[in-house]
């Protein structure tokens, strides 16, 4: 069921990423201030936006789960958060590389944008131990949903707080009085954002398909009365 349309989606994602990266290196002009190093912007910022939006989407799915009690929404919420955490790792690494190249430091502790993202990332890193510390499946899903909603609400609040804070070195590019990106850079950025968002959707779908197949396999094994292999605690919600 989840695998339907995965193939065209994967092809579209690969094509979108190829177009996006071609625009980055062959179309977007060099930044007057940062030069070639600014090319990291087209990867780092879309990854960060997608990861943060993914956390919020995880919260929305959690609301749907708590409202209707359908386990499917819990699986959606789990996979959204899981994928956003992976994207978060990429954000932190690409951000550190960019920081080293332009500021000479891998990390700057008194920069609100960096520290706030790290706080959000670490908060979501606690989602896994929090979830799997609960053995009862229903309680696990319920408590994880509450966590996802509270943490998901924290993400935009955190973003706004950082936006209002006085930045020391991290640039503010969008919707600022000092001017934004020129047209060609904005176009490249938007294509990159669409490509990365598409990648997120594809990977979420892939993960859900794999979990669904794994769940069906477990059901089949139970139906065939096979000896239970690997009967330890589950590490992800089952999707059927």
């Amino acid at each position: 069921m989840y695998g339907k349309g995965l193939k065209p989606l994967s092809i579209a994602t690969v094509a979108a990423i190829a177009v996006a990266f071609s625009l980055v290196f062959f179309y977007a002009p060099l930044d007057a201030d940062q030069g070639f190093i600014q090319k990291i912007f087209y990867l780092h910022v879309p990854l960060a936006i997608t990861a943060l939006v993914g956390f919020v989407i995880g919260g929305v799915f959690a609301i749907l789960h708590l409202r209707g009690g359908d386990r499917r929404w819990d699986a959606y919420s789990y996979v959204s958060i899981h994928m956003s955490v992976i994207f978060g790792v990429a954000v932190l690494i690409t951000g550190a590389i960019w920081a080293k190249a332009s500021w000479g430091h891998w990390w700057v502790w008194d920069e609100p944008t960096l520290v706030s993202f790290l706080i959000v990332f670490l908060m979501y890193a606690t989602y896994y131990p929090f979830r799997y510390a609960i053995e009862d499946r229903d309680r696990q899903a319920r408590y994880a949903s509450v966590f996802a909603i509270v943490a998901g609400a924290f993400v935009p609040l955190n973003f706004m707080a950082v936006r209002l804070a006085q930045s020391l070195v991290h640039p503010r590019v969008f919707a600022t009085a000092n001017g934004g990106l020129p047209g060609s850079m904005m176009l490249t950025f938007l294509v990159c954002l669409a490509a990365i968002a598409l990648l997120w959707v594809t990977l979420v779908k892939l993960e859900l398909t794999a979990k669904s197949a794994s769940g069906q396999l477990k059901r089949l094994r139970r139906a065939l009365d096979a000896p239970a292999g690997g009967g330890g605690p589950r590490i992800a919600p089952e999707v059927s």
Binding site: F36, K39, A101
Partner: protein, 77 residues
């Protein structure tokens, strides 16, 4: 924060290139690791499915054999 080179001139292309390449390679590497993990999962599922199919076939042939034995016994009676 006076250590931070705000307003410093851009890095020369040869030096900036390795950082840009590093960032994009890290991204592709992460993607590759994820795909490799998913491929390993898929292989495991395929192996399990083959195992279950074999088990189901054995059980079906066992039941068929037991059924023909029962028929022979009832015919003798």
């Amino acid at each position: 924060m006076d250590l931070l080179p705000i307003g410093a001139p851009a890095l020369p292309l040869d030096e900036a290139g390795k950082y840009v390449a590093g960032a994009y390679v890290v991204f592709l590497l992460l993607l590759l690791v994820y795909v490799a993990i998913m491929a390993a999962k898929l292989q495991r599922m395929e192996r399990e499915l083959r195992e279950l199919a074999g088990f189901a076939e054995n059980r079906a042939s066992g039941e068929a054999a037991a059924g023909s034995d029962r028929e022979e016994v009832s015919a003798d009676v």
